[in-house]
Symmetry: C2
Subunit: 448 residues, 2 copies
Amino acid sequence: MPLSGFPELLPAQRGAELAVIDHLRSVFELHGFASIETRVVEPLDQLVKGGEIDKEIYVLRRLQADDEASDSGLGMHYDLTVPFARYVLENAGKLEFPFRRYQIQKAWRGERPQEGRFREFTQADIDVVGKDVLPFHYDVEVARVMAAALVALPLPPLSMQVNNRKIIEGFLRGIGAPDRSAAMRVIDKLDKVSATAVAALLVSEAGMDEAQAHRCLELAAIRTSDTSFVDKVHALGVEHELLDAGLDELAAVIGGCAASMSEGFRVEANLRIARGLDYYTGTVFEIFMTGYEFLKSVGAGGRYDALARDGATTYPGVGISFGVSRTLVPLFQRGSLTGSRAVPSAVLVALADEQSRPASDAVAEQLRARGIATEVAAEPQKYGRQIRYADRRGIPFVWFPAGDGSGDEVKDIRSGDQVPADVASWQPPAADLRPRVVSAALPEEQDP
Amino acid sequence: MPLSGFPELLPAQRGAELAVIDHLRSVFELHGFASIETRVVEPLDQLVKGGEIDKEIYVLRRLQADDEASDSGLGMHYDLTVPFARYVLENAGKLEFPFRRYQIQKAWRGERPQEGRFREFTQADIDVVGKDVLPFHYDVEVARVMAAALVALPLPPLSMQVNNRKIIEGFLRGIGAPDRSAAMRVIDKLDKVSATAVAALLVSEAGMDEAQAHRCLELAAIRTSDTSFVDKVHALGVEHELLDAGLDELAAVIGGCAASMSEGFRVEANLRIARGLDYYTGTVFEIFMTGYEFLKSVGAGGRYDALARDGATTYPGVGISFGVSRTLVPLFQRGSLTGSRAVPSAVLVALADEQSRPASDAVAEQLRARGIATEVAAEPQKYGRQIRYADRRGIPFVWFPAGDGSGDEVKDIRSGDQVPADVASWQPPAADLRPRVVSAALPEEQDP
């Protein structure tokens, strides 16, 4: 029985998910990010104090232990940041800093499931963490790496929206806002309530006058896909050195991602992105998917001055997390994304009779040795039934061994074309070699 | 703090684990096995009734739910077979049978940790499952596929030991054993107690006379790496049609794996392998690692006539599970296996000064576009320090951009050789392109 919030995929969908994960891995690794995997459990006290406090954590108890000993004191991680911070502290003496890592793993939250919000879900995180210091250029690097990874995926258009907490902080200081952290929390509500309501809250909850509230809204309305936001902010006439520092950093991130922009992937400066969480201190990211705004962000991240802390040593970091399940599962469920076939096999080797199985096996071995995924027919049925066997699985080619080592033929079952083929050299078209991610019925569809 | 039984790997070790997993995946996929991933939890009643009964299961409770609602009724899976059987039943209408799947995933057991026995561990399973029927040739196929996957790994020598329950069952019938299932359980103890003790138990617990017990031990002593076991069994003079059927099947499996044998990987008929579990009905497998016999088997599997059952429909299956953590973690812990470097990067691009970062980034982008994992130096330190930065991470090459687009040089930091190089065509040796699995201090080491 399916369990609500624990999505499982059919083989073709899982093939598409794996292709996406393999692609992300490949881009991360090309940029020197090392894989780590952490255990799925952490001591409960670490989980409760880390990050957001409204998460519902799954706690583990051993079934057969007696009552007293049954509670393990362990909970399942709800993100990959808390375990990564613990891993860094635990292995600090054995890691080289700055340490670039990627982590593609499941996490769990016991919350009420909604579309795109699951109890079990896969995330893909990249982070760079330094010891005591971490140069700013890593903010640009993680943005570029994630952009390079996402731009090539056949998804609905994505936009990575970037801001810098120093801009908001400096601007609030510049206008003399009386309670900056209340103001930050209120600005963060702009995606939920109207600008008018936010203005009222800035007055009632953050102690601003109406002029200050108005200027905040002017700042938050700035959104550009190039570095023109800098002039727009300057035009508001607010001065503060922290504001200038933030504008410089944000311009570097937006400029650094320019080469990754395409119709399907935009990087934008969006000055309303506040990321209410206290631990972000500079760059902040949120990623959205066009047409799927109800999912809210499908990725997020930013710069924290102290990802972890151990006595006198701090570990600053910057990273971005991409929600693999949050993005893919709704697309699978709507049928707008799938895999091109349910099996890895590009070729089915037909079987004339059970006695010729070794000959068909030998053909398959030769094709596999050249990297072509191949299976042999289950039974020596009539060839028409063997072709239907391939067709039902989406296997594009059926190979007919001649039996005497020469005169083999291969049929493309989509076109029906059957041609002579040499097992030592025949190659399927590159597009047929592996299952592909296929996007269907997306209004904005484009070539991956 | 490390948690006993929840092993975590350093980046170089994780790189080696990933290389092993990628290799297994690649072999499984070349043979047409499709990946599936199941949720990590199952309803507790399903877990308790499936398979072995001595497992300690982790049960989930939600932290913030009130007492009554906090127990989720869910437990974490302790193997990949129970969830696979459930997945097959749940999706039977959407799967094509025979269904070949591989599943490389973690499982959890709340048992007391020992070396090689973890509370969290990764397994790699392949199974073929049919609807109502599954031809015997799939027993040969799963053995060959697992053999093809394992033979290429740089591990201590492995042996896959194979038997067939029909041989034991037929032999016991042939000698007129009074209590065959008690006899099977006793024979299964041969790896723990002496042959004399087993003979005594066959008399006292399985009701045999001494002659019968003696013949059982003669059968169980037969072990060959080719099909000569057939004659040895015939020489014992016991006749039964089930025995003959089992001998034919086992000979087919051993013969079918002959091409995968090497010094580092043996396939043997071992007639003492009984696999006490009731659900095995034909072929049974156990995999052992030389020098690591204390781990007991590092893999196991077999044929079951009913992997799953749904009303009138049964789903017979045959499969093998390989213990990835059980095999690799003890090797990592002893330092006899690791990865060749801690990062994917093959090249570090040096940085003359911070102003030339865009030029160094451009070199890196060109190398990455040709599949060469590359990172750029963190800071424009003296070149000697940048070389040490590469050395500490195991990055074999440092690239020195000339700055004017020509005259770049690349240094192999192991030999110290520095030569002119063209960013559009330079290629590292194939062995340096990706981190490799390195086995050290293994007496029987060989080329992977």
